[in-house]
Amino acid sequence: MVNLVNNDVLMSVRNINKWFGKVHALKNFNLDVRKGEIIGLLGDNGAGKSTFIKIISGLIRPNTGEIYWEGRRVNIRSIQDARRLGIETVFQEKGLIECFPVSKNIFLGREPTKFRFFMNLKEMNAKCEKLLKQLGLNVSPEQEVRFCSGGEKQGVVIARAMYFRAKLVNLDEPTRALSIKGVKEVLEFVKELKKSNISCIFVTHNVYHVYPIADRFVFLHRGEKILEIEKDKVSSPEELNDIIISRIAV
């Protein structure tokens, strides 16, 4: 059990339970997320990964359990609550307006203004350009998002999280339906998050995608955490796969 006042721990969740009707989607779930740590949250479809992400993003509320943020107990009732704490979530295929330029997407809802009501488009474009360069994204701030590749879109959302100084970024299946090049790009973006000391929960069902970048792996099966293991305890994704399979068999 991790000490809740440990300065290294950014977020702790304790005994989270969530039912959807008769379905027990998340069973007594506990997790600590350390600062600047990347957690690979693994599991098959319906394992409860997305349910957990939705709970800490404020989209749904747990039936029981507590969430501690930097040692303090918090209630996350909405996306705005989560964002105020510094939690940004990137949902599958969501979070970007396709017909809007990249810069307007990054600042949507939090535009820099002049004379209170007017957007400062110059500042938005300049800041966006700097941010995209930092992330190694070869996209113009004025380019409409629909012309970005899948990997670039994930990059734009990650850039947004970085700009607004999120402390925890949740990526819900960020590599799903991406090309090999797209997956590589996303993994590079996540490494940039780590460099900025931003924690990340990387949700996926593909061990190979998350293995190169994660510090720790958590495996969910039918709403239950059946494995939590540090990266230095496994030598390859194949070994991790074998451990997971042996746990599921039990």
Partner: protein, 327 residues
């Protein structure tokens, strides 16, 4: 490389301003056939002036379309605003400054209220925009006849109510200022940006803390204000409030918006180009009338124009996409 960029920029400009180019083409066509009529300076001025009232309804419809919704009730809003303000203004002293100020403000305020009624149902209660505005389309027109089942003419009203839309130069001048103000509003303000954003993807807006319900509510308020201004333009053009004011204007307003390139699925479009759509409708009507084309044949031509606009719009989007796609 420079030449390529220049070509691309010019191409994009042409594609974005297509409605204006088509308008010039039509006008030049009419002028070639009947030069003595169409090369007279008064004709284009009159065409612009006679397009202002429909133009305002095109702008109103465009704002509703930006949010991914639409408004079938705009013509009935004009009728109810006209009758309600007319009946009040009939009983005010005609020379008083206050009543003349009210002559301008009252229609705008009533328009705002009617727009917000639509906004409450479509935006705040998230009801289907087709059914809600179909309901208010009938209710507003019925209410206008309940208030007064006969026309109101200029001599019964305070002068400002008529004057705002009676003189072509004044009407075109304030309309031009309004177009510029709206252009700035939609391009540079946060609220203008959110109206497009809500039409582009309401779910994403919700996630980013922009409430689609509130923004849609406000957008319908703007639609109402534009209908209030349209009422002033109609009153000036007709020298009063006829009992059937703006009857059947909703669909030409839709057509104008579509011809002007406003996306029916929301999130995209420009009000200046939407007005080009209204002008095109006006020019076609005016031109065909001058050539003694029967009203029925004009309707056919008009319908064909709308279909052509949709087909051209499809190709235009493809060309635009190809030009915008990064190399």
């Amino acid at each position: 490389m420079e030449m390529k960029v220049l070509k691309r920029r010019f191409g994009l400009f042409f594609v974005n301003q297509l409605a204006w180019f088509v308008l010039i083409m039509f006008y030049a066509g009419f002028a070639t056939i009947k030069p003595h009529a169409f090369l007279n300076f008064e004709i284009p001025v009159f065409l612009v002036y006679s397009s202002v009232h429909l133009g305002l309804l095109v702008l109103a419809e465009s704002v509703a379309l930006f949010t991914g919704n639409f408004d079938l009730s705009i013509e009935s809003q004009v009728a109810l605003i006209g009758m309600a303000s007319g009946v009040i203004l009939m009983h005010l002293p005609k020379e008083s400054i206050l009543s003349n100020v009210l002559g301008i403000i009252l229609p705008i305020l009533i328009g705002l209220a009617l727009g917000l009624i639509n906004g409450t149902f479509v935006g705040l209660c998230e009801l289907n925009p087709f059914l809600v505005t179909l309901g208010t389309f009938m209710a507003y027109r019925g209410a206008s006849l309940l208030i007064r089942p006969q026309s109101i003419w200029a001599r019964e009203l305070v002068p400002s109510f008529i004057a705002a839309g009676a003189d072509p130069t004044i009407t075109v001048a304030w309309f031009a200022v309004l177009l510029i103000v709206l252009g700035i509003f939609f391009k540079y303000t946060k609220l203008g940006n959110y109206i497009y954003a809500v039409g582009g993807d309401p779910e994403t807006c919700k996630m980013m803390g922009v409430s689609p319900r509130k923004i849609t509510f406000i957008a319908y308020g703007i639609v109402g204000i534009l209908c209030g201004l349209a009422t002033l333009a109609y009153a000036g053009f007709n020298k009063g409030v006829p009992i059937n004011v703006a009857l059947g204007a909703t669909f030409p307003a839709f057509a104008g918006a579509v011809i002007g390139g406003v996306s029916l699925s929301g999130g995209r479009g420009s009000l200046i180009n939407a007005f080009a759509g209204a002008l095109l409708v006006g020019t076609l009507e005016g031109g065909l009338t001058m050539f003694n084309v029967s009203p029925d044949a004009r309707k056919v031509a008009f319908g064909m124009l709308v279909i052509a606009a949709i087909v051209i719009d499809r190709f235009r989007e493809r060309i635009r996409d190809a030009m915008l796609r990064p190399v």
